[in-house]
């Protein structure tokens, strides 16, 4: 069975029907100011009547502009990133932009590949959370040089002059730590993510600073690394903590999976939560409000981060010609959510 290949209606068809030039039709369609109301209506009606729609490819081809935003994240199926992307899509769609998604798998090589492709494909702009492996930023500098708007989210770097949407990891971690101190914790442990990544370093720094400000000792051996922040890694590190010569009475974790793991590991050894050991996580995963006790955590507003990233990017895209703005940094507000895993009824 041969399927029919309906030949496309073009601007020419509309022009012919109305005895107007294609230029006029094009002008109406792009809201050109110098068009009389009467022909505007004429054209719009005919467009509707014939069910015409501009060919976006031809349009992009001619104008060298697209409505396509490239989004690069480590993996889509991580709660945090899927929320960010959801925020990006919502905002972008409303502005008439489409988002094309790529997963770097945290590989520097793949990230470079994708970025290069995006550069030649006329992406209107790029939103990226750099791969864990990415420590050199030449590929992104090239994007900036090519005058393609670029926004980094979550993981950022000082070595790149580009817009950034981040949270204040230092502050969030500081607040979480201080909260435990206020609950009476004296010996604090930290389960960190990959220590080679800026944001986890900032969280470590925030953790230490809170201890310092409250004249509490910093036990380096109580700062553990769970590279991918999985539940299993969290369990391993929590059990490692249980074997230390000092047992913590409070644990700040870099995400909620490790927090849950720590909670269970300590409870299994007979410690009561939060009275003997208080725990706070990070990111407000669904699980943290379902477990008992519920896990105190940091709401990192991933959806909002995505929305803002899209907003900044589109601003840059649309202001590109006037070069009004160069780049900007936005810090998304985080919020400490205090729940049963850390709140001690005194």
């Amino acid at each position: 069975m041969k399927k029919s290949e309906a030949s496309r209606i073009t601007i020419k068809d509309i022009a012919r029907e109305l005895n107007l030039s294609t230029a006029t039709i094009s002008r109406v369609l792009s809201n050109h100011p110098a068009i009389s109301e009467s022909t505007k209506k004429l054209v719009n009606d005919k467009v509707k009547e014939m069910g015409f729609a501009l060919d976006p490819i031809a349009s992009s081809f001619r104008s060298k502009k697209t409505k396509s935003i490239g989004v690069i994240c480590p993996r889509i199926d991580i709660d945090f990133h899927s929320k960010v992307i959801s925020g990006i899509e919502d905002f972008a769609y409303k502005q008439g932009y489409q988002i094309t998604i790529f997963q770097s798998q945290d590989s520097y090589k793949k990230e470079k590949e994708i970025v290069q492709m995006l550069e030649t494909s006329l992406a209107a702009g790029i939103i990226i959370c750099p791969a864990l492996e990415t420590h050199r930023f030449e590929h992104l500098k090239k994007i900036v040089k090519s005058n393609i708007p670029l926004v980094l989210y979550d993981r950022s770097t000082d070595s790149l002059k580009a817009s950034k949407v981040i949270i204040n990891d230092f502050e969030a971690s500081f607040n979480a730590t201080e909260h435990l101190i206020q609950q009476g914790c004296k010996t604090l442990a930290h389960i960190s993510g990959n220590k080679n990544v800026d944001i986890f370093n900032s969280r470590i720094a925030g953790f230490k600073e809170a201890l310092a400000q409250h004249q509490l000792p910093i036990h380096e051996e109580l700062i553990k690394e769970a590279k991918n922040l999985t539940y299993e890694e969290g369990k391993v590190q929590a059990e490692a903590l249980l074997k230390e010569h000092i047992i913590p009475d409070g644990i700040v974790c870099a995400n909620d999976y490790t927090a849950v793991a720590a909670l269970k590991a300590f409870r299994n050894k007979g410690y009561t939560i939060p009275d003997q050991v208080a725990i706070v996580g990070f990111s407000n995963y669904p699980i943290s409000s379902i477990l008992e006790p519920q896990i105190s955590t940091i709401e990192d507003s991933a959806y909002e981060m995505g929305r803002v990233a899209a907003k900044i990017l589109i601003q840059q895209i649309e202001d590109k010609d006037m070069q009004a703005l160069d780049y900007q940094e936005v810090v998304i507000k985080t919020e400490l959510i205090i729940r049963g895993s850390s709140f001690r009824n005194k």
Copy 2:
């Protein structure tokens, strides 16, 4: 500071440099068979030397073909969909396709809007999980008629001749139910999703069939609906079950959130899990293996579903000219994972 707008290298430039025609360059770049090895090498070297890359927009414009797959899902930030999309992206990327993502928010209107746009934008193909609100499929039939490859995933419908990737919801639910029966349950309840959606109807049917086959009574009043399958809705429905005149000794839930909710609701009332009430969920969310007891569940292989959807779609895209295949249906294997919430040590 004015940024430089490097003018693009085109195949003309390559042609001029090598005293060849643009046609030859184009042929080399698209692996045309009738090209001598020597010029092939010549061109490829020069391409590399000059850092040239085809302009995909111009290429698409001319050939009327794109490498862009439109993906429409209800929301990206739902675990299941983000996994499916991850699978789609992985496969598509390897085949040189990009995926452009849209969220229908389960709105029929928005879905139509997106589909229409995709139709005029020369999407190479479309992968869609129809919105909950979608009960008419004219917009998708139009896609099929326009000869744009289409694959539905997860939620399917018989009223559309298009490729589908689904799980056997009936069978999965049947197996989960039968498992509870084998554990000794006699009075079974079901917490369903939106009863207007095919897949949840199939799960209800599978549930009932298992009861029927084992000569157990079907208590309609023990079949509850949690429209969006949230934890909160699950809690409400579980509490409703607790108020029935018959208390179930086994509950089959349409996802893991509602399973957790049921588990907690019944445990709070003093029922022991799994001995007094056995529970099984659906979808194998991360939470289900972290709670205690761990939740028995159905692994629905979302990532694999995405991979297969992409595979089928790309097959159709690339075989389009020969029309070798029309459409196909793939049923992804599910697996019952038996854990503490339902396994009774006899």
